[in-house]
Every structure is written in C-alpha cells, then in structure tokens.
C-alpha cells in the first residue's frame, strides 16, 4: 500500500488513533484500529478484549481536478454512509453499523465484522469459507449459510436497495453461538433502486463470482442462494410473487446478455 496514503491518514487521525492497513481497492483504503472515534468506553468488550473498528478512507486522486475530487469524495462518502445508516434499520438485514463519518476528508468508521477462520483459512468472508469446506463441499452448514446469504440479498432487494458489487469477499460471516451469520459489506457502489435491472445485475454478479471461484460446486451453491432469495419474496404474498417473477426473468436476461458478450470476446 502506498506509504504516502498511509501517512496522510495517520496524520489526519493523529497518533491517538493507531491504524493497521488491511486492504487497498481502486476507490478506498481500509484500516483497522482499536480506538473508537468518540466513545472511550467502547475500546474493549466487557471481558476486556480489544474491539476492532474499520476505517475506510478515500484518498484524493491526483489525476482529478482538486475541487472536482473533493466534491466526488464527499458525495461517495456520504452516499455510502447514508445507505449503511438506512440499512441498519431494516429488520433482519445484517450490515456493519456506521459509527462516524467525515465527508470532507473521505473517512468513515464502521463496525468490524468477522474473524479469522480456523487453521489458517483466512478471514471469514464467503469466499474463504467455501474454500475451507472444499473437501466436503455439500455439507449442511454450507447449505444453511448460502441460503442465508440469499435471504440477505432478498431482504436488501425487497427493501429496494442494490449492492452494486456482490462478490464473495463482500459477504462476511460472523459467528454467533456456532452459527455463521452473513453480513453484507462495502456499499461503495450501493444505491436505493426500484429497478429490476439493478437487482438482476446484482444476482448475476454474485452468480459469476461463485462460478469463477468454486466452479465444480457452483450449480448447487447458486441454487441454494437463490432458494434463500426467493424465500423472502414468497413470504410477501401476491405482490412479492410478482416482483420475484420480474426479477428472476430479468436475471435470466442479464445472464443471457453476459453469455453473448463472452461469445463475442
């Protein structure tokens, strides 16, 4: 990760907030810290274990005009924060809580979700979780997790939000009483949307992600996800059924378009 960016953030946060870089994307760099931005009592759990927080920072882009850059950063930071805040209020939907936000500097603090998987299987996102089980790919634990993943996306869409970048790294599993609960993270490309197209694309992007990383088991995996997705709409009576039909039809169209595109190269 660029030393320059790390120094920018470290200066901004002051030495009172020590940070550890964990990821760099095209849009943002992500750090962890044990310091809560404004609630000193929330730095440790009741058992004295340090609590981790995520700091997501959008560094200025040198190739953009400074004032345009500022406006864009502010806009995107605000948009991601608003979506997170709204989604936290949807019953049953799991997203990390928004803790603080500095739109002028492109910085947001979010609750840290997930943990390290056993035996060096890496961070508990869906991708690593599926790899961890590759010797027993169809066990019921996986089926349950994938069904719940589908439910989360169903809830998101039913409430007229789209994720915009549904990869298996953006689904993080949080362990609770030996169950794995999927959380949706990274709403940098998220939006409030009533469009079936956006929803169809969300489903297609995730399907592709599953196919490309877990191709041998992908059919079953995608089927389980879709079962979870459908279950949310089917609970919503006639209106739900109709909307579900529209989304699935569009999903199939998007898939077909995708095939054509790849045939053409």
């Amino acid at each position: 990760m660029s030393q320059e960016v790390i120094e920018q953030v470290a200066t901004y946060l002051t030495p009172n907030v020590p940070i550890t870089p964990i990821s760099q994307g095209a849009e943002a760099v992500v750090f962890t810290t044990n310091v809560h931005p404004y609630n000193a009592s929330a730095c440790k759990t009741a058992d004295g274990i340090p609590v981790k927080y995520i700091i997501k920072y959008r560094p200025p882009k040198k190739y953009r005009h400074p004032s345009i850059d500022k406006t864009l950063t502010k806009h995107r930071t605000l948009s991601e924060s608003r979506i997170l805040a709204k989604l936290s209020q949807v019953p049953g939907l799991h997203v990390p809580r928004l803790i603080a936000c500095d739109v002028y500097n492109g910085c947001i603090w979010i609750e840290f979700i997930g943990e390290d998987l056993p035996q060096n299987h890496g961070f508990s996102n869906l991708k690593n979780f599926l790899w961890m089980h590759k010797s027993d790919p169809y066990n019921t634990a996986i089926q349950e997790v994938l069904f719940k993943v589908g439910e989360q996306i169903g809830l998101l869409h039913w409430n007229d939000y789209c994720h915009g970048d549904l990869t298996t790294s953006n689904l993080v599993l949080h362990q609770k009483d030996s169950d794995w609960i999927p959380y949706l993270i990274d709403f940098g490309l998220g939006s409030a949307s009533t469009l079936v197209e956006d929803k169809g694309v969300d489903l297609y992007v995730l399907e592709r992600a599953i196919i490309s990383t877990h191709s041998r088991f992908a059919d079953k995996y995608n089927e389980w996800i879709l079962m979870g997705f459908k279950s949310v709409y089917e609970k919503e009576g006639k209106k739900g059924q109709q909307k579900l039909k529209d989304i699935i039809r569009r999903f199939e169209e998007v898939r077909l378009r995708g095939r054509k595109r790849s045939m053409l190269g």
Binding site: Y12, L13, T14, N16, V17, V35, H36, P37, Y38, N39, A40, S41, A42, I99, A100, D102, Y104, N105
Partner: protein, 147 residues
C-alpha cells in the same frame, strides 16, 4: 462532572454533567445564548454514545470551518438532530416548557476554560452521567419520532 477527550481532537476536552430536577429552568432558559456551554433536555439523550457522536460531528465541522451555528457547543445541539434545521434542533434538544432534567455540555480547548464550577449556574441535583441514569429520564417515544 464527566470529562473525556475525543482521540482525534487532542486539543479539546469535553465536559458533561447531568442534573436532575432543575429548579431555575426559566433563568437558565433566558441565559442560554450567553452561557459557555450547551444545555440539553436530558429526555432526548438515551446514552453517552448518542451525545458523543454529536460532539464528534461538531468537531469535524469545526475543523473544516463549517460550523453552522455560533459556537462549538451550540453546534453539538445541531449535530444531535437528524435534520439541518437549526431552529428545530434547538426546540427539540434544547430546554423547553416542561424540561426537568438537563445535560450540560462544554467542548473547550485544553486550558482555555476555568472548569471547576463551570456549571454552577444550574440549581439542581447533579447525578452521575451514565447510560443507566440517562435511560431513566428518557422520552423514548419522542426519540423514535425524531430520529
């Protein structure tokens, strides 16, 4: 009095006191604009986290010269409010007809203010600023309506 600082803003200190059954509410109300601290209706504050997230937000606005009110203290009241309407924020979170318990809040630069006796003008029983005490004074319906 409860004192804490915000990690990112080591230059400042935050002082908070919680008062129950305040007797000179009318007097405070008439002086609110000139006092070196914010006076907040305790029935709108459910926990420390809520108050301090507003302090954090106000300090961010201050840092970028974006204060929308006259002082850092009044900016904290505005930051408590989900909307950016200043009048509405003061009406909701400030003291009003029927206010009994208050939270006094001062965000000051280190060493700039005589802090002992800062809230002496308040004639009420000071109790510890804890989530438990706050929740005993809370008007939950009101909070749900606003936020």
């Amino acid at each position: 009095m409860f004192c804490e600082s915000i990690p990112q803003f080591g230059t400042h200190e935050v002082y908070v006191s919680l008062f129950r059954d305040v007797k000179n509410m009318e007097e405070l109300r008439s002086k609110v604009g000139t006092m070196p601290y914010a006076v907040i209706d305790a029935s709108c504050i459910c926990c420390r986290e809520q108050l301090f997230s507003a302090v954090y937000k106000a300090l961010i606005e201050w840092k970028y010269n974006r204060l929308r009110t006259k002082t850092l203290n009044s900016e904290c009241i505005l930051s408590l409010s989900p909307t950016s309407n200043i009048g509405e924020a003061f009406k909701r979170f400030g003291i009003k007809e029927g206010t009994k318990n208050i939270v006094c809040l001062a965000v000051v630069e280190k060493g700039e203010t005589q802090t002992p006796g800062l809230f002496n003008a308040v004639d009420g029983e000071e109790i510890e600023f804890t989530d438990e005490n706050l929740s005993s004074m809370l008007d939950l319906e009101m909070i749900k309506k606003v936020c």
